[in-house]
Structures are given as C-alpha cells and as structure tokens.
C-alpha cells in the first residue's frame, strides 16, 4: 500500500479492500515513525485526518451529502504549509506565522476537500518559500530520505521528503523558481509546476505573485495527472486564474513518442553540471530516441541571465507581498516597542528569518526611487528576452529536456555561508516560471554516491498532458520512480 500508485489506492478503496481510515492510519503510523528524523511535517493532527477519513468512507458507502465518491475520495494527501487551512495552523515555515489560524481554506485545499481527499498534515518548507534546500525553515531543516545528512531541496522539501519516504502517497507544493521540481529531483520523485494561471493562488501565501504556481508532487507522472485533475481550474478569487475549458491531464499518458522532437538546450549541458547528472540525463534522452523521438540541439541564449533576473523580480515582489506582516492584525507581534514604527521594525526583525529579511531588503532596494529603472524595469525587460528564447525554441521542438539541478543533494549547511552559491542551484529551474511555461521533474537514475538525479521536461504553455505523457512512457520502461530510500525502507 505504501508503494501503491494513486489509481491502485483508489481501486482498493472502491473495492473495499481497505478503508480510508485504515489507509490514513497506515500513513500516520509511518509519519510517527519517521518524522522525528526527517522533519518533513510541521503539523499533523491525527484526529482531524481520521475524521476526514471517516467522512470519505461514508461517502464511498453512499452516505452523506458530499456527493458521489471520486478517484481521490479517501486518499491521504500532505499539503505544503503555505496553503491556508482552516482546521490546522498554517505557518509558512516561519516564526511570523508560527501559530496562525487561518479563517479560510485555500482554493487548492477546498478542491481536495470536495474531492474527498484526506489531509495528512502540513509539510515543512523553506520560510515563506524562499530557499532551495529547506534549511531556512523556522521549524528546522528537512532531511533527505536518501541521506539524512543532506538536504531534500526546497522550498517544498517537506512535501518531497514525505513522498520519497512514503510518509504520504502524494503532496502539494509551490514553485516560484524551482521549488517543486528541484526537491523532486533531489529526492527521486516526480513534481510538476503547471503553466502560470492554471492552479489558483487564492489562499496560497504569496511570495512572488507573477511567478508563484501551485502544483503536485507524487511517485509518478500518472499520479501527477490525477492530482492536477483535482487541483487545476478557474477560480474567480485569483485575478490571474485562467478561464479555460476543463481538461483531463491524463489524456496523453499513452502517447506515441515517434516523431516527438526533444530540444536539448546547449546551455543546460555545459560546464558546471555534475558529470553523473549529465550522464543520467543523456541516458534518459537516448531512451526517448530509441522510441522514435528526435533530439534537436537548441539554444536558450539568455539562460545565464535567468538567475540575476529572478533575484531582482522575486525579492521585489516578495518585499511587497510580505509588507502585510506587521504585527497589527495577525501573526507575531514584538513584545516591547516604543511606538508604532518601532513595533513594525521589531516585529519584522524578530518574525522573519535571515534569508527572508535579505530578500525583502534586496527587493526594497531594487524598487526604490533612483534604482527602480536600473534594476526592476531592466529585469522585466530581460524577462521578456528569456520568454522569447522559449518561443523560438518551441518552433523547433515539442518538449525541452535537461537536468533539473546542476548537482545532486548537497550536505546540510554546505551552502549556508554564501547566498549566491545557493541561488546558482536554481539555474535550470528559474527560466520556466519567468516565461510562465510548465516544467516537470522525474527521476532518471542515481549518481555514483546513490543520490537521485532528476530529468527536467519543459513544454510550451498548456502542454502539461503531453509532458506527463512522455514522462509516463519513460516510467513504464524504467523503475527509478519505484525505488525507495534505505533510510525509509518498507
């Protein structure tokens, strides 16, 4: 059961082979056994989860007013602690919101609730989603189930570790510069950042509003498709939510790979990428070629500017989004202060961690009078150049593939001293959110040290079904996605 796919779990629930209460208990036991070591979850409320499981069982038995059971009814899902949840605190990995009781549910939470899924708990994350290693959380770092001395990646590190260690069959995350894809790569699981606007950001605590996108993490592309069918969709309460006809993200899982043109950006296969990572990625591409796909060398010439652009735009937007945390209406408030201004300054100095404060200060600077044109406006222009690179590339290929991350999981504390070193980790994942296009990471092997390597697949706007289809075909022929870390042996 711990290794079963979502459709297998769904079938087992439908056939009454297992109840949702039993299934939820199975994962809660697993969490109790492993979370002390891995720290993947910030909050677990067993009674709350079991209550939802009982409702789901009732629904499967035809009782209750929630309507017919659907594929996810009774299935336990872990949620990144960035999604507001009414029944359980929402911390965003921060001291600022350490005891925040949200008065409403995020749209994504409502969707899973309506689908009858069970909330397994709130997962650990880099504070306010700012980080690539899950080391900036107020609640302590998350450990990689493949090697507990290493990071799981971030900022959705808790969700990734939970799925990788089979503490949850699936989880939600968010991705602004790579925060779903990179931890998926470092923990050997699958994760998708959808096209901007497909998943509502209502109730998803904002980091960088023009980049943030919610998405699923799971054990396979097929599972991601099922999760997207539940998560995606128009929401009037998110002004950037797209109105589009409903789609079935699983519709191309059986896709024919013959003639598929796979673009390989030369900038993604250059120096600075681990040799083992490149080797595994090339092997994966060769598999696709063996199935009739064609590899095409492409260029994304402005790739080298993606990290600087991101570290102007994201902190700028964050400085605006996080200005709401002032101690007045909710969250942390300093105990001692001389006046209102002092209250703001101390509340924010105390409530935010170092990385968050750093990014707010950068953001404030690049938006300030005298610097706005040179930094913020400039970065917005270069963003368009990056987006144009992809438009040109997709004229010549259907999907783009490359490594998700230049290296495998690094040691906890290894990059703590130099923020720029940490930022350069994101070089391959940052371009997709800048252009608004979707990106996916699936496992494609291991390095010499036994650490997972991720293959990134990027597609044109709204091509998730095709991306998931290509990934699914690969996963039918390989078993990287079925491997379980020794740390979390079943």
């Amino acid at each position: 059961m711990l290794n079963s796919s979502l459709s297998e779990l769904s079938a087992a629930l439908a056939a009454k082979k297992i109840s949702s209460v039993e299934l939820t208990r199975l994962f809660l036991d697993r969490i109790r056994g492993l979370n002390g070591r891995l720290n993947a979850f910030i909050t677990v409320d067993e009674e709350h989860s079991l209550g939802q499981a009982r409702v789901a069982d009732g629904r499967r038995a035809g009782k209750g007013s929630a309507g017919e059971a659907g594929p996810l009814t009774g299935i336990p899902i872990a949620h990144k602690d960035i999604y507001c949840t009414r029944g359980i605190r929402t911390t965003c990995g921060s001291k600022m919101l350490a005891n925040f009781a949200s008065p409403y549910d995020a749209h994504v939470i409502e969707k899973f609730d309506r689908a009858g899924a069970v909330m397994l708990g709130k997962t650990n994350m880099d504070e306010f989603a700012m980080g690539s290693s899950n080391e900036t959380s107020h609640f302590g770092p998350v450990r990689n189930p493949w090697d507990a001395s290493r990071v799981p990646g971030g900022s959705s590190g808790g969700s990734a570790a939970a799925v990788a260690a089979r503490m949850a069959p699936a989880a939600t995350g968010t991705d602004t510069g790579g925060s779903i894809r990179q931890p998926a790569a470092l923990t050997g699981i699958s994760g998708l950042k959808p096209t901007y606007g497909l998943v509502s950001r209502y109730g998803m605590i904002a980091f960088a509003s023009s980049l943030d996108q919610g998405g699923p993490l799971g054990k396979s592309a097929a599972d991601l498709a099922m999760l997207m069918n539940a998560m995606a969709g128009f929401d009037a309460r998110d002004s950037t939510s797209l109105e589009r006809p409903a789609e079935d993200y699983a519709r191309e899982l059986a896709m024919d790979l013959r003639g598929l043109r796979i673009g390989l950006p030369k900038e993604f296969f250059a120096e600075g990428v681990d040799a083992d990572v490149l080797a595994r990625v090339r092997e994966a591409v060769r598999w696709f070629e063996s199935q009739g796909a064609k590899a095409v060398e492409i260029a994304l010439p402005n790739t080298g500017l993606a990290v600087p652009v991101y570290y102007v735009l994201a902190p700028a937007e964050a400085s605006s989004n996080l200005s709401r945390f002032d101690g007045v209406r909710y969250g942390h408030r300093a105990k001692d202060y001389a006046d209102l201004n002092d209250m703001y300054r101390r509340t924010r100095a105390e409530g935010f961690g170092t990385e968050v404060k750093r990014r707010i200060l950068i953001g404030t600077y690049v938006l300030s009078h005298g610097y706005y044109d040179a930094y913020y406006l400039k970065a917005q222009k270069v963003r368009r150049l990056i987006a144009k690179d992809f438009a040109e590339a997709f004229a010549r290929c259907d999907l783009i593939m490359g490594p998700t991350s230049p290296s495998t999981a690094f040691a906890i504390g290894a990059k703590a001293d130099d923020p720029v070193q940490m930022y350069l980790n994101d070089i391959f994942t940052i371009p997709a959110p800048l252009a608004g296009i979707p990106g996916l990471s699936i496992p494609c092997g291991f390095d010499a040290g036994g650490l997972p390597v991720g293959l990134q697949v990027m597609g044109n706007y709204f091509s998730e079904a095709k991306m998931l289809g290509a990934a699914h075909r690969y996963q039918q022929a390989t078993d990287w996605h079925l491997r379980v870390p020794r740390e979390a042996a079943l």
């Binding site: 925040f100 009781a101 008065p103 096209t195 901007y196 606007g197 023009s210 980049l211 009037a236 002004s239 950037t240 500017l305 990290v307 600087p308 652009v309 570290y311 102007v312 400085s319 002032d326 101690g327 007045v328 209406r329 909710y330 408030r333 001389a338 006046d339 209102l340 002092d342 209250m343 300054r345 924010r348 100095a349 935010f352 404060k357 750093r358 707010i360 200060l361 950068i362 404030t364 600077y365 300030s368 930094y375 400039k378 970065a379 917005q380 222009k381 270069v382 963003r383 368009r384 150049l385 987006a387 144009k388 438009a391 923020p419 720029v420 930022y423 959110p433 252009a435 608004g436 706007y461």
Partner: protein
C-alpha cells in the same frame, strides 16, 4: 554596486525591518554579494524591449479580469479578529500614532 551604511539604514527603514548596529556589517556584506549577481543585468542590451509584468504576456494576450463593482464579501470581522494580537470594539489596537 556596494551599499553604504546610510543606504542600508534607508532600505531597512523603507522595509520596516530593524537592522541592529551589530549586524549591519554582515547584512551589508551579504547584500553586496547579491547586488554583484544582479549587476550583470546592466550590460544587457534591452533597447526596444517592453517590460514584462505578467508571466504569460510574452506569448498570450492577457487582460486584467474585472467584475461588477458590487459587494460580494460577507462581514466576517469577528472571525478574522479572533487571532488578532489586540482588538477592542472591532478595532485593531496599536501604539499611539498621533501625539
């Protein structure tokens, strides 16, 4: 681009974040590293390029969706104020602003 202590204090004031004298040097040093990273953008030729503020703007025509200017929210003030640090008669209490 290197920040002077005055510039740091100005940014900290704008951001309403206290930076203690003891930490100012370390904070400035780290910020300068990030500024070194983003300064790379200065040499990029962006003449004739429009700034892009919406993620899909490069490829699709995106319009800000509008709705009728009608009240659609319910009054849930009491519920929202349950977790507030200090409230009285429906108002949030903060230190005196006007002397």
């Amino acid at each position: 681009m290197s920040l002077t202590p005055d510039q740091l204090q100005r940014i900290a004031l704008l951001a309403r974040i206290d930076v203690a004298p003891g930490e100012a040097a370390a904070v400035t040093e780290r910020l300068n590293r990030v500024l070194g990273l983003i300064d790379q953008l200065q040499s990029v030729d962006t003449r004739g390029i429009e700034p892009m503020s919406h993620a899909l703007d490069a490829q699709l025509s995106v319009q800000q969706r509008l709705r009728p200017d009608e009240v659609s929210e319910a009054d849930r003030r009491d519920e929202y104020q349950e977790g507030a640090p200090a409230v009285e008669r429906g108002l949030y209490l903060v230190p005196k602003v006007i002397e």
